[in-house]
């Protein structure tokens, strides 16, 4: 088992050019997202402790960890919704908290719940991100309809959120994120509230769309299967947001192999 871990982490290290605790991807002008000695405290509670992590442009990274390990705290710091207590978070070379508005149109988020505006129809919800970018009404509608259709919601564009199922609402929310054509997609357990079949179908669609559109994506999850389905890199986090494993996934992984990795991740998270 230890040999397997070593082999996988070696793959990750080779691809990412690991330097001590910091992964730096070779051959790019710099990491898209970087954490340098980041600590986040809420009173006495340490949610993230002295974290170093780099995410390269074009990677689809799954941040995997148990509930309360600090994944969402990391997510909020990347998105600029909260600031680190110590250390530095940089996204596209800038500070997402202090330079919040600079990221308009460069970053889109899919949240755990769909977070659709209840007073807007599906198409108007998708248009919301585009309105913030000052895109013309006609182009907004065209782009919103394109993404709704791509995600199988044709015919539901004028429905209000309450008339849509959970899976449909989450697809509207994904459409809203993709419609802005942002370089960076942040997803906070977007399929965790859905049934297994819908969740599986949506994450397959999601991973395909991310790759098709060459996005950098950070996908937070507590599901090992979801991490393997989606990520081409899996960062396994222990509490408080300490990196237990940093795995690069190359190509399809067989069932037996996935089971071995699953056991390995379980063991390290339980430790």
């Amino acid at each position: 088992m230890q040999r397997e871990i070593d082999k996988m982490e070696k793959t990750a290290d080779t691809a990412a050019g690991r330097n001590g605790n910091v992964s730096v991807v070779a051959g790019t002008e710099g990491p898209e997202i970087s954490f340098r000695g980041v600590t986040k405290r809420f009173g006495d509670l340490v949610a993230v402790d002295n974290l170093d992590l780099d995410i390269a442009k074009g990677q689809l990274v799954a941040l995997l960890g148990k509930t309360g390990c600090g994944k969402s705290t990391m997510f909020n710091m990347i998105s600029g919704l909260s600031a680190p207590t110590d250390g530095e978070v940089r996204v596209m070379g800038r500070n997402p908290f202090t330079e919040f508005d600079w990221y308009r149109g460069k970053m889109a988020i899919v949240f755990q719940s769909d977070r659709l505006l209840p007073w807007r129809t599906a198409v108007k919800n998708v248009e919301f991100g585009l309105e913030s970018l000052g895109i013309s009404r006609a182009e907004r509608r065209e782009r919103a309809m394109y993404w709704l259709e791509k995600l199988g919601l044709k015919g539901h564009e004028n429905d209000y959120p309450h008339a849509l199922s959970g899976g449909m609402r989450q697809r509207v929310s994904i459409s809203r994120a993709f419609a802005t054509d942002a370089e960076l997609l942040l997803c906070d357990e977007p399929f965790s509230a859905l049934d297994e079949m819908t969740s599986k179908r949506l994450r397959t669609e999601f991973a395909r769309l991310v790759k098709e559109n060459r996005k950098t994506a950070v996908f937070i999850t507590h599901s090992i299967d979801e991490a393997f389905d989606i990520g081409d890199r899996i960062v396994v986090l222990k509490r408080p947001a300490e990196i237990a494993h940093d795995l690069k996934i190359e190509g399809e992984i067989g069932a037996a192999e996935r089971e071995r990795y699953r056991r390995m991740i379980h063991e390290s998270l339980a430790a």
Partner: protein, 268 residues
């Protein structure tokens, strides 16, 4: 199907449902009117006038410009007072929501104001100001301002944090943030505030006009009281009630359009 049932209206038909709804809307008023009419046969007209007399006076007021202008004056005073209080309430509410210092200064002050009776404000206004219209506007604003402000603060504080974060994640401009998030989120509570304050304002304006005005429904009520004319007092009161009902209905129609996105549960 038998002949007897062939022409019958089905129990769940929309016509029957509408008739049933209409009956239950009218039933309490018909009951009150019947009791009043019965009482009018046993008591003198200055205590319980016949509803026919009252109805004639209502028609007379509605069709005589010199009288109906008093109703309009009162209605405009109510709307002006509410609009003024609402605008100031929005400014103070936003200040309280966004600033701790404003919260510490304004919340206790407005709470204190809320405890001052409407009649005291009438007296203060008569002592402080000369113009009748300004006095009434002042009274209306002072009596409805605390409620509007606290309702604005409550609406702003009650905005869904998840939706706020979602909206902020798209980095909208201030204008877009307000029109796409804040306004639709607070609108339901704002409309409720208007509905509640409309009732309060209609009561306060009558008191203000009764004491410090030479026109309007309040002043007319004072005249009827001096003449011991119960039919007139009732007719003028009904004019004000009709106005309040009309405005409430307009607000309800607006609500129906503005809140059509809301899910309706079959079970209430």
């Amino acid at each position: 199907m038998s002949d007897a049932t062939h022409g019958a209206v089905p129990a769940n038909s929309p016509v029957l449902a509408f008739a049933r709804r209409l009956f239950w809307i009218a039933a309490p008023f018909v009951l009150i009117a019947a009791v009043w009419q019965i009482a009018s046969s046993f008591f003198p007209p200055f205590l319980f006038p016949s509803l026919i007399d009252v109805f004639e006076r209502v028609v007379e007021i509605a069709t005589t410009w010199s009288q109906f202008s008093s109703v309009l004056a009162t209605a405009l005073r109510i709307l002006a007072g509410l609009a003024g209080a609402f605008l100031i309430g929005v400014v103070l509410g936003v200040a309280i929501y966004t600033s701790d210092i404003a919260d510490r200064l304004l919340t206790p002050t407005l709470t204190f104001f809320q405890g001052i009776p409407a009649l005291s404000w009438v007296v203060f206004a008569i002592i402080w100001f000369h113009g009748i219209e300004f006095r009434i506007l002042f009274i209306m604003i002072m009596t409805t301002l605390p409620a509007f402000t606290f309702q604005v603060v409550g609406a702003l504080r009650g905005m869904n944090k998840d939706l706020l974060e979602m909206v902020m994640s798209f980095r909208p401009s201030r204008g877009k943030y307000f029109s796409a998030m804040v306004l639709p989120a607070v609108l339901p509570e704002m409309l409720t505030a208007w509905k509640v304050n409309l009732g309060n304002a209609s009561r306060v304006v009558v008191v203000a006009e009764l004491v410090g005005s030479s026109g309007g429904v309040g002043f007319q009520l004072l005249q009827q009281q001096q003449l011991f004319d119960m039919a007139g007092a009732l007719a003028w009161t009904l004019q004000l009630v009709f106005f309040v009902l009309l405005f409430q209905w307009l607000l309800s129609q607006f609500e129906r359009v503005a809140f059509r996105y809301r899910a309706k549960s079959e079970r209430r």
